[in-house]
């Protein structure tokens, strides 16, 4: 069963050779993904788990198994960097940084997740400014 239905990026166009995805991510985040023993603590504590297509531990597994469709997962964009998983991981893996690394792979290809023109004037005036800075930092390359 395919859990990922979105397509933000054509994964074949990224031209990752076999095993390159996990190396690239480890380089970006400095974490050892192979340290993960799939206990699921990260997923159990994640406040956004209900809206995710892949749970955070699944994301790690997908990367290790070289399943590049992980780059189209909703999960990596839902992560708001609250650090709960990183705080609780018994293997001391910073999952928050892994999610950022996945986002960065896409953003550094000049693909933005957020279209800034879609934000209305009313929203710009009512929502606290720091939310915008944060959104741009996460979703726009």
């Amino acid at each position: 069963m395919n859990k990922i239905s979105d397509e933000i990026v054509n994964v074949n166009s990224l031209k990752f050779k076999k095993g390159e995805l996990v190396k690239e991510i480890e380089e970006l985040c400095g974490e050892n993904l192979f340290g993960c023993y799939q206990c699921g603590t990260c997923s159990a504590g994640c406040p956004f788990i209900e809206d995710m297509d892949l749970s955070p531990d699944e994301v790690i597994r997908y990367v290790i198994l070289d399943k590049k469709e992980v780059l189209n997962s909703k999960t990596i964009w839902l992560c708001a960097a609250c650090y709960t998983c990183a705080e609780r991981c018994p293997r001391d893996i910073n999952i928050t940084k892994i999610m950022e690394a996945l986002r960065q792979i896409i953003l550094r290809k000049n693909i933005d997740r957020t279209n800034l023109t879609n934000i209305s004037k009313d929203e710009k005036e009512s929502i606290p400014q720091l939310a915008f800075v944060c959104l741009f930092r996460k979703n726009v390359g």
């Binding site: 970006l28 960097a81 705080e87 940084k97 690394a101 606290p128 944060c134 959104l135």
Partner: protein, 293 residues
């Protein structure tokens, strides 16, 4: 005592009431808050990739400007700013190579020496003023109010920059006890409010606000106290919007800790800016008779 203060964007725009109330309680406690000059945006979200030093520039520039005026401490009111400044400070202290690279890049600024300590105003109240001292100055006790402290993420995580225990924080509980309120505990107190998703996915954040508040209400609380301007917006405004999604749900008022301290110290409510909230915060204070005490 003079306190050098870093505001950040939101404190000057949508969270003016947080700033104003903090200023007036600091003054009442005998401290003078001085806003630093030449401050810039902190970048809000700390850089999470190892090769990305670019996003440490803005926080570090602010820290340099603190050193430039001969200070070694900077007080912040915004949780996000506090977290970002602390994380950059930590990174350059742990990795001297990165500090050198950043210093070389910013050749028009003085070199950062790493002497600045970033302090959240809550930390300042706990460690330097003392909640026991605060307690003695309380004129209008918050007795009768049942309040849930909500911490969110940025005060507590990552653990290296936390102001309290990351899983079982007590700082706002102790503060509320000092002010005379009854504290309602809630496991959701450390869970994310939805953060910046409030722009693109309102329902997601309304749902978060509902979950957090519902649990607090079921346990008997009639208000929430917090410190972050974005958490305030999400719980207050998006929580109010959740009333349309969930039947029989009513959002409780959301206060900044500074507003409650100001009320408890008997300061004029005009300093609290209660008019900027979606759920009227004054109604509950009147109902509980806080102003009349």
């Amino acid at each position: 005592m003079k306190l050098l203060y870093y505001p950040g964007c939101t404190l000057k725009t949508s969270a003016k009431n947080l700033e104003k109330s903090a200023f007036c309680i600091a003054e009442t406690l005998g401290h003078e808050i001085v806003e630093m000059e030449d401050w810039t945006c902190c970048g809000v979200a700390s850089s999470l990739t190892d090769d990305d030093l670019m996003h440490h520039l803005a926080p570090m520039r602010n820290l340099i400007h603190v050193e430039d005026v001969g200070e070694d401490k900077i007080v912040t009111l915004c949780d996000m700013c506090c977290n970002t400044l602390k994380q950059t400070n930590l990174r350059v202290k742990e990795k001297p190579d990165d500090l050198e690279t950043l210093n070389l890049f910013m050749d028009r600024e003085n070199d950062y020496k790493g002497t600045v300590k970033v302090v959240h105003f809550l930390e300042f109240l706990r460690d330097e003023v003392g909640f026991d001292v605060l307690k003695k100055k309380v004129k209008n006790s918050l007795k009768g109010m049942k309040i849930m402290p909500y911490y969110g993420c940025m005060l507590l995580r990552p653990r290296e920059v936390s102001i309290d225990d990351a899983e079982e924080p007590l700082i706002m509980k102790d503060l509320l006890n000092a002010l005379g309120a009854e504290v309602i505990d809630n496991p959701f107190k450390i869970e994310c409010c939805g953060s910046y998703h409030t722009i693109e996915d309102k329902n997601l954040v309304s749902n978060r606000a509902y979950r957090i508040t519902k649990f607090a209400v079921d346990r008997g609380s009639d208000a929430i106290v917090l410190s972050c301007p974005l958490c305030r917006f999400n719980l207050d405004v998006r929580g109010k919007e959740a009333e349309k999604i969930y039947n029989n749900y009513k959002q409780v008022p959301v206060y900044y800790y500074t507003q409650l301290i100001a009320v408890a110290l008997g300061l004029d409510p005009k300093y609290c800016g209660f008019g900027d909230h979606a759920v009227d915060p004054v109604l509950l204070l009147k109902k509980k008779g806080v102003f009349e005490k």
